[in-house]
Symmetry: C2
Subunit: 447 residues, 2 copies
Amino acid sequence: MSATNWPSIISELAELEIITDAVQLSKLSLDYYHFSPILSKKLNNKRANLVVRPVNEVEVLKIAQTCVKYQVPLTVRGAGTGNYGQCIPLEGGVVLDTTKMNQIRSLEPGLACVEAGVKMAAFDKKAREIGWELRMAPSTYRTATIGGFIGGGSAGMGSITYGQLRDRGNLQAVRVVTLEDEPRILELRGDDVQKVNHAYGTNGIITELEIPLAPAYPWVELIVIFDQFMRAARFGQALGDSDGIVKKLITIQAWPIPSYLTALEDYLPQGKHAALLMISQYDLEPFQNLVKEYGGEITYQKTATEATKGSSLLEFTWNHTTLHARSIDPNLTYLQTFYFTLERVEQMYDYFGEEAMIHLEFLRVGGKAIPAGLQLIRFTTEERLNEIIRYHEEQGAGIANPHTYILEDGGRKVIDPEQLAFKEKVDPYGLMNPGKMRAWLERAVSV
Amino acid sequence: MSATNWPSIISELAELEIITDAVQLSKLSLDYYHFSPILSKKLNNKRANLVVRPVNEVEVLKIAQTCVKYQVPLTVRGAGTGNYGQCIPLEGGVVLDTTKMNQIRSLEPGLACVEAGVKMAAFDKKAREIGWELRMAPSTYRTATIGGFIGGGSAGMGSITYGQLRDRGNLQAVRVVTLEDEPRILELRGDDVQKVNHAYGTNGIITELEIPLAPAYPWVELIVIFDQFMRAARFGQALGDSDGIVKKLITIQAWPIPSYLTALEDYLPQGKHAALLMISQYDLEPFQNLVKEYGGEITYQKTATEATKGSSLLEFTWNHTTLHARSIDPNLTYLQTFYFTLERVEQMYDYFGEEAMIHLEFLRVGGKAIPAGLQLIRFTTEERLNEIIRYHEEQGAGIANPHTYILEDGGRKVIDPEQLAFKEKVDPYGLMNPGKMRAWLERAVSV
Ligand SMILES: Cc1cc2nc3c(=O)[nH]c(=O)nc-3n(C[C@H](O)[C@H](O)[C@H](O)COP(=O)(O)OP(=O)(O)OC[C@H]3O[C@@H](n4cnc5c(N)ncnc54)[C@H](O)[C@@H]3O)c2cc1C
Ligand SMILES: Cc1cc2nc3c(=O)[nH]c(=O)nc-3n(C[C@H](O)[C@H](O)[C@H](O)COP(=O)(O)OP(=O)(O)OC[C@H]3O[C@@H](n4cnc5c(N)ncnc54)[C@H](O)[C@@H]3O)c2cc1C
């Protein structure tokens, strides 16, 4: 393989914003892979040769052409907040940073069309002006891009109503730039969007997305505390199953997890298990009745207006819980688990004790509210971590392993023939985010 | 028991609108009890002595005082569209018709306060002007009152998202006039509303209700046809479980039920099973993908604007299906069934054939979309009807028997101690809709 002619590439891209400064390159090559001690070791020295920041689709096409011409890897990056090294360029090459592609193309009741680099919170602010908002968003909502959420995320606040990103209807269409000999722009609509949905940017550069919106409610943020963990968990399930109460977030944290949320310490007394919630203001009264039924105590309540001023409870939930915990105890890592039932939650709670502190996020899967876990794990060794994973799986839980950067080894488990076929078509040279898609790696070996 | 002094009562109520004309009395004493051949025989000769039509709560208080003073039965009537003789005065007396109490007291995003006699469609028209609508409504939406829906109904369009009326949050507060020696106005809020929710007007006259609203969508009405019934049923379940597709109505009708909907015959070909649906206009594309997956064919599609002009598909669903079928074949009656699972639906479909033609309405129960049945039954004898009911129950289905006017013998099955206690308090003389609450009848015997 001949050495890449970087000066030539740089001069071809001269009209675009290019970053070559080593500090910047390092920053723009990495993400939140360090939540995993396993990935930390494997990925911390990976660097792009070059970062390019296109401002529109024409520039993206130009970058695609150049990468094909010089046969260099191209890795797309949104805000770089992924947790599994999704946007880390394993083989170096070009990182395409989408954050300057942040135009809202259209915004109407129910539907919007945005460029991939639009940040979710910024978008929501605009959408709420017309009474709508994103159906779902991760706890990195303030910084993460919509394209990155589709490329590497899965669920978040709102998922207790609308399910996951992969659910039919939650992404209506995408425009994708290919890495063929003559890069093209393709539009995928309806079920076809699954070809690139959660593909870690391995098969096309998403430039624009059509996303459905949800009616915007005045969300009230609340903390409810409980004496017993399973009481809190059952409350979460009951709230998830309460069809008459409109909600956006149901987070349950077993003590001592609340002790890591120091900014909220006034509302999280020693030894109590906590629910962090977002509830429609119109449903507060029935909500309070539910709290009463489960013996909870409301310690924090911010109206929608108050909540948007300061920082939102959202930023103490989902993987932000892990972030806060790790800032106090860097030996902590986490798992992602579909428990499916509360019985299994209880079993794991009893079995692991504080080695796997239970953090639940309720979300809809196939029409049903289920408890998913982002447990905090006291990390000792990789062997023990794998043992913990194995035990969960043996007991019938589903683990979406966050300690691998390989697409199929995380949540999906099996090869997606549709995504592979699409990659064969749009990225015939395998330049996009190389090393992440097992299907491609194995095909390369067998070809 | 001394004869009632009706002239005296009439003169006490002289300032109110009073109806004594026999034809009117007969009309205002009955409801749609005739859907049941069993109830038909039992109830067709029941008549009120007098109908009063109050225009406000002060007049309601006056009526309550008068009924207590003269110890005459009082039965509340909304639009009289109930199916089980709920508002038929078994012991005569006064019928209080609420239809002139039709003021909207307040209408704000998310919440409204209405008088009990407000008609649902009329309310929705107003609510939609500010972007909201009723969370749920029966297929008698155009004529039925909100108070009557609470007093005697259970679910309808919208229930696939918000569940049933009884679910916490779907009724926020009520004002109730009592029949004590000194009739009072009570306000019940939160869980306390369950005291009068679906109580057939046996324990208080609801004068005002606070109800939560849903964001109004532009609903598209569609008919999808299928070759196989179970395909249609599975499609219904899949749609119910599709968290990314916003919907309001999922009705599935096994052939030959569609043959009874003659006004829709152009869209309902011979031998095909049909789905009648209301889907958010914003989600039409993913919806079409789902139809494709299940091999359905869309034969009818009206946009929200077109649909509001003519008559709505709603009026061919829920118990309107029964209405249309009975207008062609008066020997038909129906059942109300919680199948809970599609396996049970299939079993009953195979077992009964056209004796129990399956009509499914999907609705959320405890957070999960389930198939409920309003099967059309080819009536032969009461014994056979009871046999059919028994068979369903033996196989694990839940039947809400629509062939009884007794509150507890319908859907509830057990005595509600809370409603009984409330009746003891607010209707100590047992004047309200006498003969309908088993708990009261049995208590009366044992006292
Ligand atoms: C504290 C914390 C909390 C988090 N909480 C959540 C959460 O609640 N839910 C959740 O799902 N995730 C969560 N995450 C993960 C991550 O923040 C989100 O998934 C986020 O949406 C990713 O967006 P991003 O712009 O940072 O994407 P990036 O990390 O930049 O990219 C993610 C993946 O998408 C690909 N990609 C990016 N843009 C494009 C494009 N235009 N075309 C094709 N591929 C593209 C990248 O190559 C990469 O593989 C969390 C992470 C952290 C650190
Ligand atoms: C063709 C057809 C279709 C139907 N579809 C549905 C359906 O989809 N879903 C459904 O749930 N029902 C359905 N029904 C039943 C009925 O139409 C509804 O429940 C409707 O909401 C009843 O409203 P109403 O004003 O007619 O009440 P009424 O029949 O007048 O009264 C119903 C009960 O409530 C009591 N009541 C009425 N007003 C008050 C008050 N102010 N205070 C206290 N008690 C009161 C009455 O005493 C009576 O017991 C259907 C009926 C028919 C004939």
